[in-house]
Amino acid sequence: MSHRVSVNPITCEAHGMCAEMLPERVTLDEWGYPIVDETPVSGAVLAHAMRAARACPTFALLVERERAPSRR
């Protein structure tokens, strides 16, 4: 079962913790907001992702089990 990292752009306030803690999937744009690579994560990277999500001051970083692509 694979997991995917994403960000809630409304709650995100560009603290940048995610890029520090999960450079495997997150880089920052020129204003400090995360650009998230949505390639599935597993193993050690998944563990880092969970830690980064818990460390986000606004809980904007999401780690979710892969689900059917939503209509958007």
Partner: protein, 466 residues
């Protein structure tokens, strides 16, 4: 009024021979005021009954109506062209009592079709809304208009009053409750989650999805949000059937559509066209052009520009328009005359789009502002050599990074302008403003203020959410 309502069973052939091709929605449109309930029923007949004959039969009829809409191939008319039946099935299949929202907020400054429908033919929209509500098992229909559309709200209230009176003699017996709500006038207020957010007591700004409205929307209930025109089509599909609907349009985009045509034509306004009809025939119906054209904007301010040289032979369907990176969107067609400066117009549009950001998502807030600044610099002739690369990079940095599609639509329309008017952009980058820069402004960009931001959220670090 004793004629029995038509059924959807298919054992009776729909009465399409008797129905003229066009207009459909706009048939019998009064020259002044709104069509009353009596006239509406005399013209279209009563809508088929869905509910009221016991659970099992009701369920069957609800499913049959959705199947008919599916066969008709009706696509949403709010701009996204999403299959209406798919959305309805998702709502009907979600847990909990559904709510239906008729979205006539029409925040697109150059669009007047939903307003026109409500001001002249409110019963068509109400029929469609009630049928949709019954089909998905909703007990509530909320019709949403923008604050500035006072005539729409008034027309709706009068129409609801007529129905309340009629309900006594059994002519229109419908169970869902109906109410009218108004939303503030700004560009993103018409986005479906912004409507839900506002109705739920929040600001009229988009929400983060998932959950999608069809699974958990207003008051956490499954919510069907349909554009007013979409509902009006449902009102007719329920009466005449899918084969009738498909007599017009293209196989992938069946039926007719309302378009708002503005710019240098003799009679700008709302027209009903068959999907696939030529832009030339629409312009002809509008009395022809009154100036030489430089281009057209299709699909409104989230759409795309097409240069005048490519307008000849252009078909009004998404298949035709896709080749030009455009789509019909909510049916907005803006013609740009040869006397306007396309660069100045694009710069104004870029700043306006940036101002219309809900200011919720960083990439949209900062990205659209940076994009507008770069385009303004080109228009004023003070951009660096790398301005175009900067704009391309900003574009790809902003797309798909907002909670809604405002940044995506904005990037799309601005990049299409730079591509379509390449020569003028190059000219401005080198020599600054041209003589046409001072011409009267052509793109309508009303000042619509977004409510001030709520106090900053204090992130709560107490309590764990896992």
């Amino acid at each position: 009024m004793s004629a029995s309502p038509p059924t959807l069973s298919g054992d009776r052939s729909p009465s399409h021979e008797a129905t003229p091709a066009l207009p459909r929605l706009l048939a019998g449109i009064p020259s002044d005021g709104a069509m009353g309930l009596g006239e509406h029923l005399a013209l279209h007949g009563p809508p088929p009954l869905i509910r009221g004959r016991g659970r099992r039969q009701d369920q069957e009829r609800a499913e049959r109506l959705i199947a008919e809409i599916d066969r008709a191939g009706l696509l949403g008319r709010g701009g996204a062209a999403f299959p209406t039946a798919t959305k309805m099935r998702a709502v009907a299949g979600s847990r909990g009592r559904a709510i239906v929202i008729a979205n006539a907020v029409e925040a697109e400054p150059a669009s007047f079709k939903d307003r026109t429908l409500l001001e002249t033919l409110p019963h068509l929209v109400l029929d469609g809304g009630l049928l949709a509500a019954e089909a998905v098992g909703a007990d509530e229909l909320i019709v949403c208009v923008s604050e500035s559309a006072r005539a729409s709200a008034q027309s709706l209230r009068t129409a609801l009053g007529e129905r309340a009176t009629r309900a006594h003699d059994g002519a229109v017996e419908r169970s869902p409750r109906v109410r009218v709500e108004t939303l503030p006038d700004h560009y993103v207020a018409g986005q479906e989650t912004a409507v839900i957010n506002h109705l739920g007591g929040g600001p009229a700004k988009p929400l983060f999805t998932p959950p999608m409205p069809f699974e958990r929307g207003l008051r956490r209930r499954p919510t069907l949000v349909n554009n007013a025109e979409t509902l009006a089509h449902i009102a007719l599909i329920a009466r005449h059937g899918a084969p009738w609907f498909r007599q017009l349009g293209t196989p992938t985009q069946p039926g007719s559509a309302l378009v708002t045509l503005s710019g240098p034509v003799a009679y700008p306004g709302v027209y009903e066209v068959e999907h696939g009809a030529s832009l030339a025939s629409l312009i002809e119906a509008a009395g022809g052009t009154t100036a030489v054209l430089r281009g057209a904007l299709l699909g409104g301010y989230a759409g795309a520009f097409i240069g005048a040289e490519r307008l000849r032979g252009l078909g009004l369907s998404n298949e035709h328009l896709a080749a030009h990176g455009a789509s019909l969107g909510a049916g907005v067609i803006l013609l740009l005359s040869d006397s306007a400066c396309p660069v100045a117009e694009t710069a104004r549009l870029a700043r306006w789009l940036s101002d219309q950001s809900a200011r919720q998502c960083g990439p949209c807030l900062h990205g659209l502002d940076a994009l507008a600044t770069s385009i303004e610099q080109i228009a004023e002739g003070r951009a660096g050599a790398r301005a175009t690369q900067r704009i391309d990079r900003l574009g790809s940095m902003v797309v798909r990074r907002g909670a809604c599609r405002h940044p995506d639509g904005s990037v799309n329309v601005l990049l299409s302008a730079m591509d379509t008017f390449r020569a003028e952009f190059a000219e401005h980058a080198r020599h600054g403003p041209c003589e046409r820069c001072a011409s009267p402004e052509e793109l309508p960009l009303p000042r619509r203020e977004i409510a001030p931001d709520p106090p900053p959220r204090r992130p709560s670090l107490l309590g764990s959410r896992s």
